[in-house]
Symmetry: C2
Subunit: 374 residues, 2 copies
Amino acid sequence: MTPEFAIGIGANIRKSAYFDATIRAGVRCFSVYNHMFIPAHFGQPDAEYQRLIDGVVMWDVAAQRQVEISGPDAAKLVQYLTPRNLAGTKVGQGRYVPICDHDGRVLNDPVLLKLSDDRFWLSVADSDIHLWAAAIGRERGWDARVFEPDVSPLAVQGPKAVDVITSLFGDWVRDLRYFGFRETELDGIPLVLARSGWSKQGGYELYLMDSRHGTALWDRVEKAGAPFGIIPGAPNDIERVESGLVSYGSDMRLQVIPANPYEMGLGGLIDLAGGHDFVGRAALAALAATPPARQRCGFWVEGNPASPGHQVAVTQGDTVVGYLSELVYSPRLQRSIGIGLIRADLVQATDLTATLPGGPVGVIPTDLPFKIPS
Amino acid sequence: MTPEFAIGIGANIRKSAYFDATIRAGVRCFSVYNHMFIPAHFGQPDAEYQRLIDGVVMWDVAAQRQVEISGPDAAKLVQYLTPRNLAGTKVGQGRYVPICDHDGRVLNDPVLLKLSDDRFWLSVADSDIHLWAAAIGRERGWDARVFEPDVSPLAVQGPKAVDVITSLFGDWVRDLRYFGFRETELDGIPLVLARSGWSKQGGYELYLMDSRHGTALWDRVEKAGAPFGIIPGAPNDIERVESGLVSYGSDMRLQVIPANPYEMGLGGLIDLAGGHDFVGRAALAALAATPPARQRCGFWVEGNPASPGHQVAVTQGDTVVGYLSELVYSPRLQRSIGIGLIRADLVQATDLTATLPGGPVGVIPTDLPFKIPS
């Protein structure tokens, strides 16, 4: 078990639009994401998990920064950045769009929001896609502006999120489809309301479009959520492992654990047949010709070991055959589970071990998401 | 004064090769840099500053990641990435090379290490230059591999650093020029030894080339440094403000405070006359035609205010005319000082205020570095 360390609060890491509100709300622990502080917990992790599962929580996810791409060639650039075919994407529709490098390795897995025919946001995981998109666009000579707008998502997640958001915005929010969004406002606070969020418990994200209103928006959501028992929390590692959500930076990262979208279970999003050109097309076509060497999977983990706080190797005998990227104790499954990547021929293996700091522990690959008994 | 918060230790942020050694050495506080934990202090900030000034300290700066560029077109790509003219750069020579985008804004300010005619490291500040360099190189069709090698710098800084490093490697280290480096080893541990480091107190950086030896290298340096009073520390904000060192991420960042190299006092490194092509050349040529609108500067700060932990606006009356990016109390100057950017016509102004959380405080621009009485 790693002891607790302080985090340095300095100008090199940005404060979120909700920073002051989260301090007031009792945040105890931060992480850093896209060069910004992001709450990790508020001192009651068990309650934060439980309320996500059976109630409603609010999360400062402003660190999920937007990369805006706008201008005459914006649609062309956005399409060129992702192997996913965006034909037919409508204004007000969000799509999950893996971004790969020229060798077909995943660089990020943003949600794309189409705000108009020539204006898009990439709601990015933790890497500087801003730099990537700007380099590609400018080197190709396309007329598209790439920049970071003043946009700060606030997530409201859990089965009661729909009630909270309805009480704030009205019944129309119940008809929003998953990843659907609409530009709107709340008491003059400009925002985009999207049905989305990094959990499988349902919910919304409020993309605040003016950071000066961070505390005001936080307060409005907190007040509207009070009758439904809302509490502050943060993107939840336990629920994400149970649900099999991808965490770029944990499950893969170009510089740490490079992985291609076929290995990550994202192969269904790669459109080689549609004919659109994109970064990494040739590499991905070559990869698609053979089954992936590795496969993303869940793990049943023996015992109740502490999280090592980093990826660990999974071995068969003396051979490294994969890794465990995250390890949690699932209250709903009442056992330890993990997520990671395993050599594709070993998804049925029963003789694997994870090399945790305290010693080797048996792990058994299993399908994602985990099946939760109701 | 911001209270102390914990930092989340999870797989989304990498541990340095020296992580275990720094835990054992009593690290109390971390920050995050290039998606990696970096020690911020070991619980005795005053001593860590003082030892840097009059003795010797050792810093885990593995988060100063290397972007390796190698292959037949590596030299061409490296030259294209920076406005600085690299003609005449020798193997074993390091150079400070600002990297700009197509609009001439600084994206990073690495030190370049030329390892051979077709192999280079960019020792980068906190942004994903890996992505930027890979995008530029591949979109131009150049035959250069861009990747992150297993390299973890360990800094030994302070006036007695030369004695510690001499005791480890021999007298030849005294003859290394500033930014000069040599590939060598220590008891079989492969490393690059460079005369460099993010302070003006002199010192070396040991670029460990195999992270498995992190603890062993830390131990060797600690033992060799003991007779000279070495203690662990971290890149020091007070000394860097006194010395006027640039901190990308604090003083400027594309997404937060975009700035061009002329504003940042780096104009002398921009070679428009030499004829080499580079990203941002046209934009920088246009910028060079007129004096910069803003100028990097130090600030004398009234009173002894606490650091706000973020950049704050500097105003003249009601007009924002610059910002203070970092604020420290200088023990050597016995007063509060800062660093930031100010409208170029106001470098002599005496009626400016910084809008700190506790209220406005008078600031007076001054030259960098600060003159320290001996």
